[in-house]
Structure formats: C-alpha cells, structure tokens
C-alpha cells in the first residue's frame, strides 16, 4: 500500500502552516529564524516518525533501517543551517537521553550561552528503532522533566498552557502510540441494518502499520 499521497499531504500541511502563521509570528515580534526553526524541528520529527518518506528526508535513507544507529538527520539539517555539529557518540544509555534533547541541542547554539552551560550534555545526536515504544515512553517522561526544569529557568512562559498541551496529548493516550492503527476523519453517514454497519467517511488521516495515509473518502462495511 503506497502512501505517497499521505506524504505529499503532510508536506503541503507543513508548508502552508508555516506560511500562514508568518504574520502571527511577525505581529508577536518573533523573528523569521524562529519560524524556520519551528519548521525544521517539525520536519525532523516527522522524518524520525518514519510514517512516510518525505522530500526533506536525508538522502542516506538506507542506513535508517538498522536497530541502533547514529542518525544523520539532525546533523545534516544542522549542516544546512551552518551550525556547529557536536561530536557523535553512541551507546544505549546516551541514546535514551538524546532523542528528547535532540531538538534542544539543535537549537542550543542559537540561544544565549547562559543556558548552555547549565545543560552541558545535550549535544548528542542519536536515534534508534523502538518498536515496542518502551523507550519512547521513557523519553517522553524525560522530555517532560527537562521541560519542567526549563520552565523553572525562565519566567516568561505561560506554564499553564504548556502543561495543558501535554495533558491533551496524554489524555488522548493513543496518539502516536506506535502500535495503534488509527483513522482520524469526518463521517457523512453511518448506517446499521441488524448487525451490519456501513459508514461513509471523508477527509481522513490514517496511521496503519506505522505508515500514514491521507484519503478523500472511505467506506467501511463491518459486522458487529
């Protein structure tokens, strides 16, 4: 099952969202670089999710299949930004902290140096396969804790809203759950005759067997 259209849809979404929020960023006094960083982090995370093949994916896709490998995604993106690339290192223990901190490490060089010194270990770039999602869970926890400490460091953040976003994700529970096959869409008609259910759906995004698809229409026939 090819999911090219899903990938194209995601690319369009990223492009259009970035272009359409530019004005919001400007009126909030946020510079273009921050917007570009948002786009970069977003794209990198999408590449890491491996739900589809994107045009911004790094060339050496073949290397990504191994169970644990030094990821070239972030460094290559960093390269294009002309930023310093930290030395790569490997090892499972480091991998655990790295994924959550990857994006931070990416942005670290752009920020003021004061914070940099407080978090000296963040310049590690790694990614790994995590089929059962266990490590991803740990990373999420660690990321959350890292976030909390970041929130303590800086007063200018509206921490309530930040947390509520986390809750939104956690409460929905299954999102991005590696093992879940989920379809998010709109329904037009749901019909039932005895135990037979038919439904007409449209405008959907589906994650099936770790791949994402987009569809215009969907039709289902099921028996209860």
């Amino acid at each position: 099952m090819s999911n090219q259209e899903g990938a194209r849809a995601y690319e369009t979404i990223v492009e259009n969202v970035v272009n359409e929020v530019r004005e919001d960023f400007e009126s909030a006094g946020i510079d273009e670089q921050t917007l570009q960083d948002l786009k970069l982090v977003w794209q990198t995370k999408l590449s890491e999710s491996r739900v589809a093949k994107f045009m911004w994916d790094p060339e050496d896709e073949g290397a990504l299949g191994t169970s644990l490998n030094n990821s070239n995604i972030a460094p290559s993106l960093l390269d294009s930004q002309g930023l310093a690339i930290p030395a790569l290192s490997s090892g499972e223990d480091k991998a655990q902290q790295s994924q959550s901190q990857q994006q931070q490490a990416q942005q670290q060089p752009l920020m003021t140096q004061s914070k940099h010194e407080e978090q000296p270990k963040q310049e590690i770039e790694l990614s790994m396969e995590d089929p059962d999602g266990e490590i991803a869970e740990q990373l999420k926890l660690q990321a959350k804790q890292a976030k909390k400490s970041a929130l303590l460091d800086t007063d200018e953040i509206n921490s309530d809203l930040d947390d509520s976003e986390d809750d939104y994700l956690n409460s929905s529970g299954e999102d991005e759950g590696q093992d879940e096959n989920i379809v998010l869409c709109l329904y037009e008609k749901v019909l039932r005759v005895k135990n037979k259910w038919k439904c007409n759906l449209k405008d959907g995004l589906a994650t099936i067997n770790h791949k994402d698809y987009a569809f215009q229409r969907a039709q289902g026939e099921t028996e209860w």
Binding site: A28, Q104, I157, E174, L184, Y187, L205, E223
Partner: protein, 115 residues
C-alpha cells in the same frame, strides 16, 4: 471544535503531534509564547481540513469485525478487529490490501466543519 470553527481532531495525527512537540520545544526554550503556539495550532486545524478536502484523492475501503461502537458528543468511534484495509490511489494503480488486528476510527461530523 476550536474557536476558529475547525476540529482539533487531527492534532492527534502524526503531523499534528510532531507540531505540538516542536511548539513545546520552542516554548520551553522561551522562544515563543504559548499564546502564539495556540494560534499556530488553530491555523494547523484549518490547513489540515483544507488540505484533506482539496488535495487528496485516495479512496480507502475497509471490512472487518466491529468490536466496539460509540457515539458521543457527535463523534463516532469504532474499533474494528481483523480489519482489511484497502487504499486506491489514482496515480498509483496498485491498490494493495493490508490486514490489521485492530483499527480504531475516530470520526467527527462532516456537516459542522468550517466554512
């Protein structure tokens, strides 16, 4: 439904969750305010709805055993077991079938969306 009149449903998708993550990072680093992030997500809700409506052509069909159905707050949720999923793409004629043990469908009412 968000204030802008679009469903927030798609924020649960991969493209939405990764955006939320990216925004969280910027907020944690003190580079943007949460209010701006919320505006980005509102924009996201609209862009996803428009993109799916205007830019997609694939058709998906599925068959299976309906394990659970739920209709609450105008949202249908189906959990389908042993589900056959088939995607027909116009440009890509090889519409293959995938079988999954369990498929969850969350669907909002199409009548109330945007515009």
């Amino acid at each position: 439904m968000s204030a802008s009149g679009y469903y927030e449903l798609y924020r649960r998708s991969t493209v939405g969750a990764t955006l939320v993550d990216a925004l969280d990072t910027l907020i944690s680093d003190g580079r943007i305010e949460a209010s701006l992030a919320m505006r980005v997500l509102d924009t996201f809700d609209r862009v996803v709805a428009e993109t799916l409506k205007d830019k997609t052509q694939s058709k998906l069909t599925f068959k299976g055993h309906l394990d659970t159905y739920r209709f609450c707050d105008d949202v249908w949720t189906f959990i389908i077991k042993d589900c056959n999923v088939k995607l027909d793409q116009t440009e890509d004629i090889q519409g293959n079938t995938v079988v999954v043990d369990k498929l969850r469908i969350v669907a909002c009412n199409s009548k109330k969306t945007g515009e």
